[in-house]
């Protein structure tokens, strides 16, 4: 059995960032993911915000890594050909006292190294954010905030890591880890993995993984966030990311511009017991609408076209990123809630340092393929480009998803790049994410998936085993003598 230098547990944004970073070095690396595809855990519910670094406690790891990450993300997104847009962020104050809080936030952020901050007044707001509540008196403007597609980021990181030699195993839930010092034996349903170092990026289940090695000093307490997506027609509802003043536990209900164009409002912040509770509620919707309307009064619940919930893997007030001396060669990367996405490149660098300090020699490869080819998306290009693409490959003209203008070629390419499920296709291509939510394109996508993966239609799932789309196929039912005509 192969002895890996490093096994990373969890293929979310943290795990794939670390995998890619480590793949610069001459190491054998395995990335294990319990779901059917990367990003199907915490990362898929991410809001996609690249934070400037405001609203982090002074001296916190997450604050430092957030500011660092904000800079690094720009370079990485360019290399990976994932769109990053710097849209800026506004934290809104409605009265004098709140304005004083803004000044405090500004001071704290500047101490962390956030640049370009300024307090803007009513006149600026009226001109630059016309739909904002006119009762807003001032705002803290952070120009370095941006937006990115969180799952496209994960897919590109994963793809690039694989290109540089990382092996990714999905449907590989870690059931137990045995520390047969100096190595680890990692038991998953399909196989056993042996590793010299283990990096725990298991999100909601990081405490469970850590416990397997007897390190149980922290507990992941899931905090649910419900989010509501608005019609793309309302794309220009806000020009910046809009935040209220933060509370003790959360950044509050935001007006979010997503990388795909649809505005999003939310999230709520509610402690829950169940690590798999992704339900939304009436109360959540009401709360979000009330808070969102305080910022942008014209928001209408009729504009809501989709909704979902995510769980933040909360553990205390800061990131837990450390080598566990009691379990040598085991590194915990846990409690990575917001600003985890922003911080992820910086987390990766930090983890590399930690692993180097703890005995793993990091020898740089001669060749590291830093770049990812741009994933072609028909809806994002002008018709002149579409013409060229269709000339190159006729199936760019074969439109499968009408609402988001996604071609058969893009869907087949997504499968070749690792999409195995209907949700995987949706996150990679946006097919099924438009107005009709798959009413038109579902059958065609199922057929393409079945064809490309050489599987029967009955086996195609929404997001992994247990979520099969259909229960029976007449084609397989025939049985008996029957009449053939």
């Amino acid at each position: 059995m192969k002895l890996y230098d490093v096994v990373i547990i969890g293929a979310g944004v943290v795990g794939t960032s670390i995998a890619r970073e480590l793949s610069r070095y001459k190491l054998d690396i395995a990335l294990l993911e319990k779901e059917e595809e990367p990003a199907f855990g915490v990362s898929k519910s991410n809001s996609g915000i690249i934070h400037p670094g405001t609203q982090n406690p002074a001296g916190s790891i997450k604050g430092r890594l957030c500011v660092q990450g904000n800079l690094l993300v720009r370079k990485i997104s360019k290399e990976l050909n994932v769109d990053f847009k710097e849209v800026g962020e506004l934290i809104i104050a409605f009265n004098q006292e709140e304005t004083r809080e803004l000044l405090q936030l500004k001071k704290e952020a500047e101490a962390l190294g956030v640049s370009g901050l300024k307090i803007v007044d009513k006149i600026w707001l009226r001109e630059n954010e016309p739909n904002l509540n006119i009762e807003a008196v001032a705002a803290l403007y952070a120009p370095t905030a941006g937006i990115i597609s969180p799952y496209r980021m994960v897919y590109s990181l994963a793809e690039n890591a694989v290109r540089n030699g990382v092996e990714i195993f999905t449907e590989a839930e870690v059931e137990n880890i045995i520390h047969t010092k100096p190595e680890f034996e990692i038991i998953t349903p399909r196989s056993l993995f042996k590793a010299r170092y283990v990096i725990n990026c298991a999100g909601l289940f990081a405490d469970d993984i850590s416990k397997m090695l007897g390190i149980d000093g922290f507990k992941i307490k899931p905090r649910k966030g419900e989010e509501f997506i608005l019609d793309k027609k309302k794309e220009n509802l806000a020009r910046h990311l809009i935040f209220p003043l933060p509370s003790k536990t959360s950044k509050g209900v935001l007006i979010i511009k997503t990388a795909d164009g649809n505005p999003m409002i939310g999230p709520t912040a509610e402690e829950v017991e169940d690590k798999e509770d992704l339900s939304t509620s009436e109360a959540g919707l009401d709360k979000v609408l009330v808070s969102a309307r305080r910022l942008i009064p014209s928001i209408n619940d009729k504009d809501i076209i989709a909704y979902f919930a995510g769980l933040r893997p909360v553990s205390g007030h800061d990131f837990i990123i450390r080598h566990e001396d009691k379990a040598p060669a085991f590194i915990n990367v846990a409690g990575i809630q917001s600003p985890g996405l922003t911080a992820s490149p910086a987390i990766a660098l930090l983890v590399c340092n930690i692993i180097r300090k703890n005995g793993l020699t990091l020898k740089k490869k001669f060749i590291f393929h830093a770049h990812c080819k741009k994933t072609m998306q028909l809806f994002a290009v002008p018709f002149s480009k579409t013409k060229k693409l269709i000339k190159k490959d006729a199936s760019y003209g074969d439109i499968v998803c009408r609402c988001e203008m996604v071609s058969a070629k893009e869907i087949r390419d997504a499968v070749k790049l690792g999409a195995r499920t209907m949700d995987g296709i949706k996150f990679r291509t946006r097919a099924q994410a438009g107005r009709c939510h798959g009413s038109f394109c579902t059958t065609r996508i199922m057929k393409i998936l079945a064809e490309e993966r050489k599987l029967p239609l009955m086996v195609i799932t929404k997001r992994g085993k247990g979520s099969e789309i259909v229960k029976e196929d007449r084609f397989h039912l025939r049985g008996g003598t029957g009449s053939t005509l």
Partner: protein, 112 residues
């Protein structure tokens, strides 16, 4: 419409607006019948499923038996709308007919 029934048989129908109504009311009580529509499997044809119907109403009581038979049928030659697929379906004076044209699939040609 209102129907007077005795021992499972209709003795009087009132309230119908046309003669067809009387016939329908009687059949609904004594021998309810329905046109059955469904789909059957095609092979080598341009359609995977071919829509079919009974050309006349058939007894409601035998519908699930009909469905079991329908699920076993496989058609391997081109059809026009109206073509009889099964004559005297279930031994009744009813035919199962195609409601849509289906030619050979364009992927390959089959000898009939």
């Amino acid at each position: 419409m209102a129907v007077d029934v005795e021992n499972g048989k209709v003795i009087k129908v009132t309230g119908n607006e046309c003669p067809k109504g009387e016939k329908y009311a009687m059949s609904e009580v004594e021998n309810p019948a329905r046109i059955l529509t469904s789909v059957i499997l095609g092979q080598g044809l341009e359609l995977k499923m071919i829509p079919v119907r009974t050309d006349k109403p058939m007894p409601k009581s035998r519908i699930f038996e009909a469905m079991n038979e329908i699920k076993k049928i496989k058609v391997q030659k081109p059809l026009s709308a109206g073509d009889v697929i099964i004559k005297n379906f279930l031994g009744l004076d009813v035919n199962l007919i195609s409601t849509r044209k289906a030619e050979w699939t364009r992927n390959f040609q089959q000898e009939p």
